[in-house]
Symmetry: C3
Subunit: 103 residues, 3 copies
């Protein structure tokens, strides 16, 4: 098993289609609609309008992915890839912890 | 620990209430509202209106579930069951990888 | 690795910002907008208007979190904490299964 864990609350990890770049574009477009900036009830706005939406998106998508390893390789489907989703407009790098375990 | 992993980007796995079939119906109804077909900004529409929504739903729900094993059994809550969520209208079977590990 | 698993379908676990209480408030406000009570298509309403939304929220956020352990400690980011998200208005306690594994 391989786990990738992101040590941040405004970025996330998910698995999705890794062939066509329009999937990533549409993914971001829709997540921005589901979790808009400037919702009138946001109180946590210290760092700008992308601050609170980034936290919400991070939890909807999750801080880790777990992928089985079979015969020494990540056993992903043919179209699957790992997305690091950056939810802030100006972030300066992200830290991951990658753990591989089992026999 | 038991992991179930789905090798697809338009179907997902989640854990939810396994007693009343209306939960599954309402679940699908609401996910279809949260992630509608025919959003004007979708670019990835090659395979029809259910293509891009399926990708987004897959990431919101996730590609794997991890369930602890206690005394040789999945330690699920009394109401919990594992859902395989099919997000395409016409899919032809799905591949899972099930990994059981630990002592 | 440490897994925390919640044995319920109307509460969830996620990782998010653990410093400013307004994040938790805004998080709840927005999740309540994304998954409202009294949607006209809900059939599963036996236990009141917070019943079905709680199930949907539980799957969007997830029933478990997995955190790597490094040098004997949870390797969380400096701002990360574990949220137990209660999605019912009147719940009477929740059961968790915590599993620590690896060397």
């Amino acid at each position: 098993m391989c786990q990738v864990f992101i040590k941040h609350t405004s970025a996330s990890l998910t698995i999705n289609e890794n062939a066509d770049a329009t999937v990533r574009k549409d993914f971001e477009s829709h997540v921005n609609v589901m979790v808009p900036e400037d919702a009138p009830y946001y109180l946590h706005t210290y760092e700008g309008p992308d601050d609170m939406p980034a936290h919400i998106k991070a939890s909807l998508l999750g801080a880790s992915i777990q992928v089985p390893i079979t015969n020494g390789k990540l056993n992903l489907g043919i179209w699957q890839g790992i997305y690091l989703c950056e939810h802030r407009n100006h972030a300066s790098g992200r830290n991951l912890v990658i753990t591989v375990f089992g026999q």
